[in-house]
């Protein structure tokens, strides 16, 4: 779906998306600090590079696709679920 009146094109200029993303990441982390388990990962290489956070795709040998042939498929989502389960288990052991 194309955005109305090229707002996105202008918003995306310079480093605005990156700085905005970094600020919202700070907000997200700070909202949950000392309140609950908090995990982060991404399926987007650009986000992984910016946030220096875990790009789950690098762990998955055979990435499959959903019915739309765009989004992650059932094997990929199972792998992501296993990754978070393992992280939560590790967190619990440290509590």
């Amino acid at each position: 779906m194309s955005p109305p009146n090229r707002f996105y094109d202008e918003w995306a200029q310079n480093d605005n998306p990156k700085i905005t993303a970094l600020l919202y990441r700070i907000i997200s982390r700070q909202i949950w600090t000392n309140r609950t388990h908090y995990l982060e990962a991404t399926l987007f290489a650009s986000t992984a590079a910016l946030f220096k956070c875990h790009d789950i795709k690098t762990e998955i040998e055979n990435i499959d696709l959903a019915r739309d042939l765009i989004h992650p498929g059932r094997h990929t989502t199972a792998h992501i679920a296993a990754y978070f389960a393992e992280q939560l288990h590790t967190d619990d052991q440290h509590d």
Binding site: E10, N14, D15, N16, L22, I26, I27, Q30, I31
Partner: protein, 247 residues
């Protein structure tokens, strides 16, 4: 390496704030020398600012606050907002933060940024959570109709002064976007401080009071030297209200 905003955020520094103006220690933003000279011609003989200069003292990061490394954050009240909090047109001792500090005998850290938005204040509020938890946090919310965009090294505060057909600001204003954005950022700010610190909110903007439930709207009792921003008496009334609210 240039001091990019990315680097600043990595170090938990507040968003950089610098204004370029002639004689910046005595004139800022709408409180310009030209504006003062114009007001001298129209204001009464006993106009306070006719014989009393305005002094702006800022720290190395551009904030009207002590150097951040010297602040006792746990004892401090931190106040966020726009030029009304910064204190455009009033001298250092007449800002809301200075007057509140005297009333409660605590440091009050002025994180007001001229032209800033509700988003901007929320971003700085999130950065503050990386510091020792302050005694209290105050959001004196600015107008709903402002936003912020970033470049690698610069921050651009957008508001009605940015109004221009087909501009990014005009597109941002369309539909319900400003209202929805403001409401979301208010929620974020409230959640950031819930069960962490005393948290107070108010505004001097009618549009914001209209959109935010249970947000006190302050009225103007006087004007600053620029005849636009709240004056020292208004700041005193606001400070007294916050002092009463803080336990």
């Amino acid at each position: 390496m240039t001091n990019t905003i990315n680097n600043i955020l990595s170090n938990n520094f507040f968003l950089p704030y610098h204004e370029e103006q002639d004689d910046v220690n005595h004139f800022r933003n709408t409180d310009s020398k030209r504006c003062f000279e114009k007001n001298l011609k129209t204001q009464p003989d006993d106009w306070y600012y006719r014989h009393n200069p305005v002094t702006y003292t800022v720290n190395s990061k551009g904030y009207r606050a002590p150097e951040f490394s010297t602040v006792d954050w746990e004892a401090a009240v931190v106040i966020f907002g726009c030029s009304n909090v910064f204190g455009v047109g009033v001298s250092d001792e007449h800002t809301i933060s200075s007057q509140l500090s005297k009333l409660i005998n605590r440091p009050v850290i002025n994180l007001g940024v001229t032209g800033s938005s509700i988003q901007y204040a929320t971003f700085n509020s999130a950065i503050l959570t990386a510091y020792p938890c302050p005694y209290a946090v105050i959001q004196l919310w600015t107008s709903v109709e402002r936003t912020v965009v970033f470049t690698r090294t610069m921050i651009h505060c957008l508001g009605p002064w940015s109004y221009k057909p087909k501009s990014l600001y005009n597109k941002w204003l369309e539909n319900n976007n400003p209202r929805a954005t403001a409401l979301l950022h208010r929620t974020i700010s409230q959640e950031l401080w819930k069960n962490r610190s005393q948290y107070l909110e108010a505004t001097l903007f009618l549009d914001t009071a209209d959109q935010f439930d249970h947000c006190k709207l302050f009225k103007y009792y006087d004007h600053a030297r620029d005849q636009i921003h709240p004056g020292k008496l208004t700041a005193a009334r606001i400070a007294a209200h916050f002092a009463e609210q803080l336990t």
